[in-house]
Amino acid sequence: MSILINKDTKVLVQGITGRDGSFHTGKMKDYGTNIVAGVSPGKGGQTVHDIPVFNTVEDAVKATGATVSIIFIPAPIAGDAILEAADGGIKLVICISEGVPTLDMVKATAYLKKKGVQLIGANCPGLITPGESMIGILPGNIFKKGNIGLMSRSGTLTYLMVSLLTQAGLGQSTCVGIGGDPVAGLYYEELLEMFQNDPETEAIVLIGEIGGDAEERAAQYIKNHVTKPVVAFIAGQTAPPGKRMGHAGAIISSGSGSAEEKIAAFESIGVPVARLPIDIPKLMKELLSK
């Protein structure tokens, strides 16, 4: 078991003929991800890495039974690609594209909700169930199969955390990069619920950052619904207010969204928060040995 994806998940790549799409399709295939189709309007009939390319998502889904789509489409038109995936019968959409206009995401998330389709991202590195399936741009070799579920707003910080966990012998059930945008798909609460219900996940790592109040809400959710051990980290402990730290969502505004408030929210319900990335495996081992 794992959450969201496993070795049987049939994956479709939107934007497979582009530079990034084609490169990462190769990487995902090498990892063992079951990629069954690609979509690129006007390039139906071609193949990329021996994978058949279709003109529309609908055609690809009908021909291959793909249920998950990963999007490598330029940000100005990525919103439309998300809508097409949901309309075409995809059940989980992962949008890697960075810089999608917020109002496009407002429209897309509303449509997906109506269709009962799940979304991860945009502006995210994707997700991985180690040893089974990697759907994204994650460096597969640092992950190790195991029992820690991980969720994070940041890509490279996830890599750092995962390599520290792996070095400490703590493998992962599924790791999900939820992305750094203000309006995004699946977030902490939904993923906490999935990890809580996943028999293979023993403990959870939550990597947050400044901006918004999602971490505070996650803490509330953990208090009420999560019995498994959780360890957290918050990036941006020293970020100045009013400055957007790269991620569109990472800004401390109107006196809220600071790391201090988020750390306090977790610690008040007994969730330890690592001050340094290197403390994550240590805190996790302490919790697991209890």
Binding site: P101, L103, P139, D213, Q237, R244, G246, A248, S254, L276
Partner: protein
Amino acid sequence: MKIHEFQAKEIFSRYSIPVTKETVCYTTDEVCTASERLGYPVVVKAQVHAGGRGKAGGVKLARTLDDAKNAANQILGMDIKGYTVEKVLVAQGVKFNKEFYVGMTIDRNTKSVLFMASKEGGVEIEEVAKDNPEAILKFPIDPELGMAPFLARKIAFQLFDDFSLVKQGADLFQKLYKIFLDTDSSLVEINPLVITDDGNLLALDGKMNFDDNALFRQKEIEALNEPTEDEKKEIQAKESGLTYIRLDGNIGCMVNGAGLAMASMDVIKHFGGQPANFLDIGGSSNPQKVIDAMNLLTSDKNVKVIMINIFGGITRCDDVAKGLVTALEQLKMDIPIVIRLSGTNAEEGLRIIASQNLPVVGSLSEAAQEAIRLVNAM
């Protein structure tokens, strides 16, 4: 991206939202001429990209030509939160009897546009939110319905007693929502929205911020951008694919990924150091980016040591290393560097760097401590 009050009100006017009669002025003479033409009283208001103008003394009422002249002399050139006032808005003074707040922003939790309104207008809304949160009415807008007439009326009925005002308000809210969508706003505010003595609604102030990700399709808005010196550097960085924010410390940071870049700053501070900047070189592997990044870092005279922290994913460590070697050859700099590299093609990267005799450390904590040691040794 932010624009000035007068620009926001110009946009409001285009959607026939009533605003004060007003003129932008750059000199005291212009202020005097405008005041005479508008008739007294007038309000002279600093136009800067910062809130709290009133408190800072950047808004003054003038009842005579002398008043207007004095106000212009005082406000033009003054500093408000680091912004120098280069222009003022001269607006006709209006008699009104009640002030409201209306605003719209993006709500992360409901993933929709959030319409906010309050009977406690005219003060900073953040203060109201803190002291009396129930005084702010909040309505998430279903993107499919938009600001439907019934919804606009429902909001207006909660603000106004008089039905003529309800009708005006509902009309105004619909227009405001349309502006928000049409311009890819991230914030639209009228504070205060007033009821004038003759019983009409009027936008006395206006504020608009925009979604930077959507500027590619908002050329007219983008043309209004007036970046500060620091922001110019940030824009220049963005054109090279870098995200740069200058801070006050002396340890220059070069990191790939926003989260890792923030965490790197945190680790430096944790061990007692001061980061000079946030710099995310992003995801692609292009040696030129590293060269641009090094140029940017060394252009900040406060930088005493540079700490490089790369976790290769899409970014390839060997590309970073190549860029670094080229940058060092071009820049001939004498600033010490501390490097941490891991992930995709780290071994090749480390081999390239080894030829340059640069200090490489194993962990982020070690890198930060070494950088701090080097600063302290100077």
